[in-house]
Symmetry: C2
Subunit: 407 residues, 2 copies
Amino acid sequence: MTARPPGFIDAFTPSMLYAGDASGRPTYQFAYGCPRTALLPLEELKDALDRSLSAPLGRRLLQYGNLNGHPGLLEALVHRLRAWGLRNAAPETLLITCGSTQALDMVCRALGRPGGEAVTEAPGYPGFLGAAEVQGLSLLEVPLDGDGLDPERLEHCLASARERTGAVPSFVYLIPDYQNPAGVLLHPGRRQALVEVAARAGTVLVEDLTYHELRYDGPEAPPLGSLDPTNVVSLGSFSKTVCPGVRLGWICARRDLVLRLRRYGSLLGLSALLQEAVFLLIREGTYDAMLARYRRSYREQRDAMVEALSRHLGPGSGARFTRPQGGFFVWLELDPSLDADSLASRCERSGVYALPSRLFHPAGRPCPPGLRLAFCFEAKDRIAHGVEILARVLRGEARGAGRAAAG
Amino acid sequence: MTARPPGFIDAFTPSMLYAGDASGRPTYQFAYGCPRTALLPLEELKDALDRSLSAPLGRRLLQYGNLNGHPGLLEALVHRLRAWGLRNAAPETLLITCGSTQALDMVCRALGRPGGEAVTEAPGYPGFLGAAEVQGLSLLEVPLDGDGLDPERLEHCLASARERTGAVPSFVYLIPDYQNPAGVLLHPGRRQALVEVAARAGTVLVEDLTYHELRYDGPEAPPLGSLDPTNVVSLGSFSKTVCPGVRLGWICARRDLVLRLRRYGSLLGLSALLQEAVFLLIREGTYDAMLARYRRSYREQRDAMVEALSRHLGPGSGARFTRPQGGFFVWLELDPSLDADSLASRCERSGVYALPSRLFHPAGRPCPPGLRLAFCFEAKDRIAHGVEILARVLRGEARGAGRAAAG
């Protein structure tokens, strides 16, 4: 299996987020799922860190942390996840991880086996695709529609895998809420059917709830883990709800899976200091206040992007896009005649950064042309302007493709 | 292969470090390699974190960090490692890791293959043994003597592995400076021979330099990576020289190995904030001042332990112990008639915590009885007292064994 193509995670450095291009022209960063920097809780975290270290036992936060996670943070998380409906959440069914990145690595190592199969949504999250490829898993893709993963399609995929190999894929990875990159919500009406399909086939569902709390409108939907706590592994991250810099995520699973997963975890624990700080933010209500601020801003940014896309890429542009009800991403489906890589390069030359569809599929797999547009990083005015430039490039590209087809 | 026996890392929680036993009797913690809490740089780190976040670009430290590591920390590390003699150290030959724990995990995944072989010192570091076992590596042990790993024994081990399996083990893991758990220094005169043995056999040496800067007396010795930068992977940690709570370590290797290793690393980077703080501590000289303070205190703690052992466990006790010139650990070799597990349990019932030799060998492997005694955590007076208790238990045990043999 070839490695992930470079250009997504491999090439990322934070300075990219802020650099203009060489000529000093402004750039528009729709490529990476980084929160808007101005929203990040600088004062809140500074204060929480300071109080953590100033407490009578503050010096102990500089020692090794607990292996499964900071007991206070675990308790706070239990409370929160139960409110989401994950009724089996308990300190002994939880692990704190180094972001969802480590959670995905642990899942691929503990549930998959090199050469074995797992299922991903298509388009899928590159962080998961990379973790699976590194572990030598062979990925089966199930295409998404506007309501997320279709239980019938999944059932068919699992059945034909069993027919072909004699074994059912080890697990199915999905992002039910505001999927990365497609931006779609798994329809609440599909959720029960989905957990039943997985249980019947004898495979585990791994749901990534990273965007669960970033709902801007539309229906509320229960985590899959609330429908079947024994057969669903739920995981998430504090990167989008606190900030990426805390590098904290979590996994919630039934006890025997937790014991398998933790063998691949951080044997000497994660930073007790950062965990204590996040624990204080949750306990004192700052976390909820931050979430409200994030939702307000991201909703506006989403509106700005969707409005600009509607204005500049009407019918006839050959493009269609999702209208996400939460999360960070809009997916732009391109006219099949277009080449997404070349379009992304042309956009970049015009100062607009977006990621082409190829990065959201297992390496070397054919895929329909599309672009992921992250509305999380830029302020709304800049989003409107960046989309205008992108649309101009896209219309030029579409005309070019039309000419090529006619010629 | 059976999993690591519980009781070492799996059972560790930081509260153990501080808890007296149920009756309120004081306990003596010689079990874990945790720095003495009173030495940890509380004010220094608090100040560095505060200044990091108060800087004009402080908010950016809450974003994702650079994937290979914080550029400033990488530069500071390059400077430092070159001063150690690792002349190939450069930002592109370095990776920042989540402690040496993640570095060991990456080494086992990138250099080993499930079912393949690797070599460890005996007794060996449980963090490495665990990482290797999780990855399915089969471990060959080479016993240490008072001068560390013997090049001839290593050569013999590699040759007989090749004879037996047709393949040379993927790599050799060793802690040349103040080995964990044995406390011995790899003799400077053995180092050149060792890198030649490995290069000739076609296997990689992985040296763990975690204790390199914690020298209290005795000769200075060059890292193996300074003798053969192409065939040695060097790694280390900031856990002992700053504090465990920063969860930062590093790997230095030739460029192609770095590219292999980073596939198994933290795809979305580690905390930029903690890296910035450690960078400031190094740049401003606080790191060196801290190191001087650590060396002074740990030397005294080492003296207290060695003196107490000499006083209470003279010839006739059946015990022999190392006199480490650096690092955190004394290794207590027990009379072959004794059972280390039962002795460690009896010590624990008397309030003294130490780890039995079984934990320093691959699971299920026979091993001579011994105890690892960490002198890093307790203050010198407490060390003297704890050793006195331990010696009393040990003498009782030795008499018991004598009686059993006689009976």
